[in-house]
Amino acid sequence: MEEIRYIEIVAQYQDMVYRIALHDCRNSHDAEDIMQTVFMKLYQKNPEFDSQEHLKHWLVHVTVNECKRLIASPWKKRMEFVQEKEKKEQGQAGAEGYERIREKELLEQIFRLPRKYRVPIYLYYYEEYSVADIGDMLGKSPSTIQTWLSRARKKLKKLLEEVKYYE
């Protein structure tokens, strides 16, 4: 793959790949490892893409597969995202705005959702893919994705009510 093209793709999609991986494994170090693996595969395999969407689908698909591989690995460090973030944020309490605190609280609760819901949530509400596209990328039917999203919303609502998020 031409280096210029590779650099362009990385610059454009590094965040997306990282975020998908982070939603799945909930650990920034693992997410970065996965990101590196995905782009290494991209560079080495140099697949042909019909369109930009095709490339994006490929990246999502490979990222999800790499997450599965990592989760299945017995050597995976099971460090929770929430704990890791709390350590980093010690001493920063009070320094951030109200909105930022709300954002973090929301993410924390989303990351408490069952694993199978988290990546569809990201793909639907952030990348704004349709349920059909998400199903295609994850190898599931659109109705399954629809059901997952619905259940995720209900569960999230309960979690947010528990922490009094809406008060």
């Binding site: 965040d15 782009f39 999230l156």
Partner: protein, 186 residues
Amino acid sequence: MNEEFPKKIYQKACGHLTPSSGAVKEVYKMTKPKKYPRLKRKAFAGAAAAVVLTCSLSVGVLAASDTDVRQLAGEAAQQIAMVFKNLTVDKEASTPYETVLHAEDGTQITVVHEYGEDGEYYVTLVYHEDSGRLGLNIGDTEIDITDQLRENGIYTQDYTFEGQERRLTVTGTPEEPQLETEILVK
């Protein structure tokens, strides 16, 4: 159905989720190792001490001129664009042989490209403004020829490029040198 999900807050929250610069650096370095074009940095007079430019890639927003950088400069300048923000290409000063870039802090960066089909860029001169010294580069080696050129007004040296014996001649002054090369016929 969707109004129950705090989409806007979630989108803002996700916007803050980014990989570390170290991790991204590793991704950019994943390409096959190549011989990089030589990089010459000339500091403006009065600038701070010279910064050594290595492959210290960092994540940053590529400057608005990065399209120019990519088109004119090749991979080394692309990597420079990742280190320096707001890098602009000096199209007037640039040639097919070297690309001149200006960084936001006033630093001028010159990227020397490949050696040329006939080795015409294998030998180059670099005047270091901060020290007032003239360097003669033969391949990857730089020799300070300032004193010899000032004393004699001329500097010559034989060298080999791709198995061919050649001679270089430098005339003029360290501030305004002229370089000529010729193939030695045996």
